[in-house]
Symmetry: C3
Subunit: 622 residues, 3 copies
């Protein structure tokens, strides 16, 4: 899987923001800069349908023609992330509600509830109308559906509309209220229901709600995004042969991206390395300071690998940070060369296209401090200059397909929801657990693939990690059992049933190991290992007949093995993790880059093709 053509560049453009008189010049400059793709239309609904049923096509027709005739491939967007103000008159209850029980009002974007059937129909309507008009336009080569699902915490809504939709979803899942009571264990605190419509959303309860209740709400919310997206795909697919895609965000885990991505052709994401470092990273201040102008290289890399999986090999960066942004707590400028380097990093991970956000910095409204390739006055920005240079280098990049990595990690969105519902320790976070292991593998110079929990097989790999999995499916257990190389499990893997109960035979659901108790640990109180490193945050007490590979100083078993399976009873810190990975690599005959003296050469040999550029530019990234 992965890229089968030469890398390409593109840009996000909003013709409705600028006088029509400059469109042609803009288009020509894009082409001259070496850009191939231009995305338009994502927030233009109020200028397309000025009143309900009243359309203004002229400007959009001319914009597409101008861009297309200049030689650009156009990505058309459905503008459903920004319904016009008149939409609220038609659907006054379409707004999402926050967890405090308040409607989230008009005045910015993403002001809709995914579960609102009336708005879903409107979204399908405008999608169909746009598809009918432009679906066969030869300039339109791809369609972006909506924009950044889930951004601004918009997956979860606590509105009355969502409450009603949740009742239907529960009825579909459980059939009868008695079955729900039984599977949720509502007897626990006299929480039995007599009817589905008695069930509240799980916010504002006196103390924590039943985790089965909370977990089903999370599944429901994810399913609403899936259904919203699917309805639009269904409307658009018959009207166009262009590829359909969505632009995901960084570290948004409230909906299952594998499910949303299923009917789409390509996964894309919006990569803001500096913004994400300040706003969405668990790294400490020292790390953030050291990386304030380059971002966390592993954060981008993880998402590149994740969305390559979501796109079943096909993925783009649809918005790449081109300079300082406006939305993080601190917004420094990228180091010289970084904008180019980020693009190369994406290509090294198999991106087909990297687009920049945005063409010209907007002097008005919410993002006026967000850099573009051009300054507001039309001059090239620093980022614009770098991209101009980069475009000239594209021919040097290979277009070969990326081979599978020797190592993979299963990433399961449901596990994120489960452990948000039931963290058991303030520090526990599923994304952080997976990302810790990912970073350990990167420190070892290994390329990594992400696998969905629905993978049919683990492929031709040497090591597959399944940390923190909420609940086994028979299918995943079967895939693991059929895998002849090593699978590393734990901590917390398989610790609950799908109904969010402790399994009858106790976790982890593997023959020969029983997790008899769990404890979580203050930051100052790790479990020291006999060799370097320690367990942090999470430690399990097990009884087992597996081989104990390693014990802690207090003698508790830490690493266990039986056949192809390893089980880790706790969350290793970086020292322990590095040691364990080194040992696994040695056993598997996997060369680690830092052993051979050049992890980057090793990575390139594994298909991360542009890392030589990165090395030459960014010796400060370590």
């Amino acid at each position: 899987m992965a890229r089968t053509r030469k890398p390409e560049l593109g840009v996000c453009y909003y013709p409705e923001h600028w006088p029509e008189t400059i469109w042609a010049d803009d288009a020509q400059r894009m082409v001259e800069m070496g850009l191939s793709w231009v995305r338009i239309g994502e927030f233009a609904w109020s200028r397309i349908e000025t009143e309900p049923g009243q359309f203004e096509w002229g400007w959009l027709d001319r914009a597409i023609k101008t861009l297309g005739q200049a030689g650009l491939k156009v990505i058309m967007s459905t503008p459903t992330a920004t319904p016009p103000r008149w939409m609220l008159d038609r659907h006054p209850d379409m707004l999402a509600w926050d967890a405090a029980g308040r409607p989230r009002t008009f005045g910015s974007r993403r002001h809709y509830d995914f579960s609102h059937a009336g708005y879903r129909d409107e979204a399908v309507r405008i999608t169909s109308i746009l598809g009918s008009r432009y679906g066969r336009d030869p300039h339109i080569r791809a369609w972006q559906l909506d924009n950044e699902y889930g951004c601004h915490d918009t997956t979860l809504s606590y509105s009355p509309v969502a409450r009603n939709a949740f009742h239907s979803w529960l009825e579909d899942r459980y059939g009868s209220i008695d079955a729900l009571n039984e599977r949720w264990g509502n007897v626990f605190w006299s929480m039995d229901y007599q009817a589905f419509d008695q069930i509240e959303l799980p916010n504002l309860t006196v103390t924590e709600p039943n985790p089965s209740h909370a977990m089903d709400f999370r599944r429901f919310a994810s399913d609403q995004v899936v259904a919203f997206n699917q309805a639009k795909v269904d409307a658009l697919r018959p009207l166009t042969d262009a590829e359909l895609l969505h632009n995901y965000m960084g570290r948004i885990t409230d909906f299952d991206h594998f499910d949303v991505g299923q009917p789409l052709d390509i996964a894309t994401w919006d990569s803001y390395p500096l913004g994400f470092l300040e706003d969405r990273s668990d790294r400490d201040d020292a790390f953030k300071y050291a990386h304030m102008r380059c971002g966390d290289p592993d954060f981008q890399a993880f998402h590149h690998d994740l969305y390559r999986a979501v796109g079943r090999g096909r993925w783009w960066v649809l918005e790449q940070q081109p300079g300082p942004v406006n939305w993080a707590p601190h917004n420094p400028a990228p180091a010289p060369g970084m904008v180019r380097l980020w693009a190369l990093e994406a290509f090294a991970h198999g991106a087909e296209v990297v687009c920049f956000f945005r063409w010209r910095q907007a002097p008005f409204a919410q993002e006026q401090n967000h850099a573009g390739l051009l300054r507001p006055d039309g001059e090239l920005s620093e980022g614009g200059r770098e991209i101009t240079a980069l475009a000239a280098e594209l021919d040097r990049l290979p277009g070969d397909e990326l081979p599978p990595a020797r190592v993979a990690i299963v990433f399961d969105y449901a596990s994120q929801w489960a452990w948000e519902v039931q963290p058991q320790d303030r520090q526990f976070d599923y994304f952080r657990l997976v990302f810790d292991i990912y970073c350990g593998l990167r420190r070892a110079g290994l390329a990594v693939d992400i696998l969905p929990p629905s993978a049919n097989n683990f492929g031709d790999r040497d090591l597959v990690f399944i940390p923190g999995l909420f609940a086994w499916t028979d299918a995943l257990r079967g895939v693991m059992q059929n895998f002849t190389e090593r699978t590393i499990l734990g901590p917390r893997t398989g610790s609950r049933t799908e109904d969010f109960s402790v399994p009858d035979d106790l976790p982890p659901g593997l023959s020969g190991i029983t997790v008899s108790a769990v404890e979580t640990l203050r930051p100052e109180a790790p479990i020291e290992l006999a060799e370097a490193g320690s367990l942090q945050i999470w430690s399990e007490q097990v009884s087992t007949d597996w081989v104990v590979l390693e014990r802690a100083l207090d003698d508790r078993p830490v690493r266990l093995r039986q056949g192809t399976l390893d089980y880790w009873t706790g969350w290793p810190d970086a020292k322990a993790l590095d040691r364990w990975i080194a040992q696994l690599c040695e056993e598997a005959g996997l060369a680690m880059a830092h052993q051979s003296g050049s992890r980057r050469i090793q990575r390139i040999a594994q298909g991360h093709l542009a890392m030589d550029y990165i090395t030459s530019q960014a010796s400060f990234i370590e």
Copy 2:
């Protein structure tokens, strides 16, 4: 007062959570483990009264019979902490509202407003029905009323129902609105009312409400708990000869436990040493780290002593932590031996019974990570093994009555409310002030009794402390004046009238001392004393004709004495406190344990009988 029979053990059990087929085996195992008591029924309402008026008695009859015939004494509970969902259809306005003005919804527990008359009637109704059915059952030896009043911040409700009830309460207290205006001082900011029903609850005001207003709301809220409990006692008492009790919690001070406990026979509490350390302790991180597996010994001890006072000598632990829990920010496992040790600590403070929560870890719903004596699969847990061993040791424990301690502290819930209403410094907290002095006395190896502010006399004691008392009553002042040994007062003692005004002759309401000004202190800025230690947080400027025992470096009087009374003008840090206590002990001829080389032997001599066990097990507790 205190224990007059051999210590006993027990456990909390939820037969409705498990197949009936295993009840008999469970009961037999309990007996074999050495348990005497089993508590049931506290959350079972939805399985007892499945629809309004529709009762399912069979399972409960059989559960009681099974447990009782196995030789267990049964504690029956009224299930009023978890009204079934159908109750909300009958009383849609029965939910409490939070301080932000939002109903706290169904889906967990304690979802009722104490001031809702309709729900109070329902609680009486189910209590009467249960009492009628089981009040004379020979297996039922005690009744628990409701569960953990006030837990999850449920004492204070800001609902319209509470607002109306508050109006009636105020009318009862003041008679006329003019009297209220006068006694609250509403002239201050034109806050005069014309009628009681104009008065809002004191949340959401523009800036702080009148402290008299806020204080009355706190009294009202406490009185609602008292009345709710009293109504159930009144219903149950004629129907049974078994003992009535309630299980209080740790560091819940929103209602007056002395008042609630007045009509009950026994005070019990739910002791979770590790959970409370992480969740409800003011200790610093270093202390928490050092005690993460044993808890704060003084925290348990304080509550043992407090609830011994609430129970007028009779008290139990009704829920004791048996292993890791699920609800604190970090949830480590107890050190080996701690579960047994905590039980012994309780017995040493005079507990009659220690019950563990719970029998078998529940694999479903909110507490699935809360350990029991059995694991979810029925095997003994670590805690279960310790309790099995402990039960065999019970015969070695004495059953003698606990003599009064030589030292006592008056603990006044109203003072907690008052200084929450008017802290005057971010750090000021009445519980912390009292607990600081308690810990100082414990460091000195002294046993301590807690006294209610309504005590008729201070008894045969050498030292009585009354720190931070909000307002004198004539009765308490009289008790103090009749006490021939030493009373230590201050800081902040007697600084307000019952109406929450400064007394006409200024605090502290003692002849010969006038507090002319008060200042509060940044953490970095204590008032250094001439000898070791300093004042922190709070310091009073006084004019006095008492003897000045000690002055600060800046010459301000710190400790004053006249006759049997001492007055402290500030909040001593640990160094100063230890020094002052040592001096008081010396004057009183009280031997301090650490002076004699063995504080624990000293404590045992004072009636803390099981501390030898503690010492032998827990050399790490210091």
Copy 3:
């Protein structure tokens, strides 16, 4: 401008709080203490108009007469900050709403929405009635209108009433909804409106609202305060010849004080040095610890200078802290001599009158821990003793007019709002930027004048600073161009148009400089300069043909000059600022006090007349 008569002292008094029998004695003691002014009536509405239309004049008539005949000049207040409870029955929707969407209820003070027309009429009504009765009373020498506008975050209200008023305000400003859409740039995210009444207040949006939208709401909110005040001035002015004033607070910037102050005769403010240090200062803990008993001298000084500008030269302190207060996180006592010293500091800055809050400490209601000149029992407090001594010294103080300072800073409330709307970095705050420069000038021993952005000219000065100005007006640009001495601009000066857009020719709107990009900086990551110091928080990338006076280590231009204008491209830390100010002073021939060895003498030479007193008392102020 400034003081033209001998300094005077006064006090705030609430006759309605005390028995009429002690008024005469109180008045006599005030006079004997040396006080000339007494303020009354500000919270007395419920005792003046006990029911709607039912007035009780007797007590107030007698109180004025008693005070006036004792020789005191009376400041009468309109009691509109505390409408009685019955007012809510007449205007149930008069309450302001908080940003979370909740009404802010009755029970304290300032419980009204500035935009409520009905309440505004009521405020005019009571003002007219009071003016008619007392406007020509010879004892009434000044009127205070309302009390502390904006205190307790009351400028901004998110009520339905405010929403409607905002629509009218917008319609007045923009004329048509199309014009608003165009000038706000609502095309950006399909935010176009079809009608004014569709526009929500900018709270509770899904993500940040359009900054133009948020900024207009801030302007609207300020205008409501201005209009409320103007309506009362209009009612009162014809009825009295006494002077009209308002008492502002410290660091309240939600409304434009220059606009509010325009129709008033005198600006006064309420100075609580210790409370403000703990509650409203950006200083770090070390600074707060060092100044915990004296306050931040520059904080008082800044506000003295600010309100001297607001009062067009005429200003008072109307409430001065006399001892510990009740409302800060920590409330220490002032150092001995400080109460007197604060008064002298105010006189040194040109205050005509300093009044103390309050006469006698109130034993009831919200401020019972707030010191007065008397204790609650009528004895002199520490502060009272100092004031008695101070009064005897007043004759030694000069009454000369204060000459203009050589240095001035333009302070623009709109810039505060703008950068709250769009901080671009968590640390950016306009007040802090201005105050940093002010403190640098104070460290240099310079007296400073504050100028409004509407100043007609910069006067006879050597240096004028305009940091962080949101948007140029033609008038201000003209004043600057006509100024023949040096103006120092930047950072962020002139970076937006009045519509909150980036100017077409990019900031700062000065010929020859273009800010091409902006970055903001983590606290650990300043831009080091080649000489001492660094840029923090904010740094601009510029292209320019101005002379570059200084570059950072990484070569970025930092200080630029052309003709009379300097431009700073970033926010200097204290070291850089001191160095730059020293250089500017040297160039301007301005002697810095610390250069001449005695900054205080220098200050006195510049008109800060009482600083010798300060020096002698407070060697710890540096």
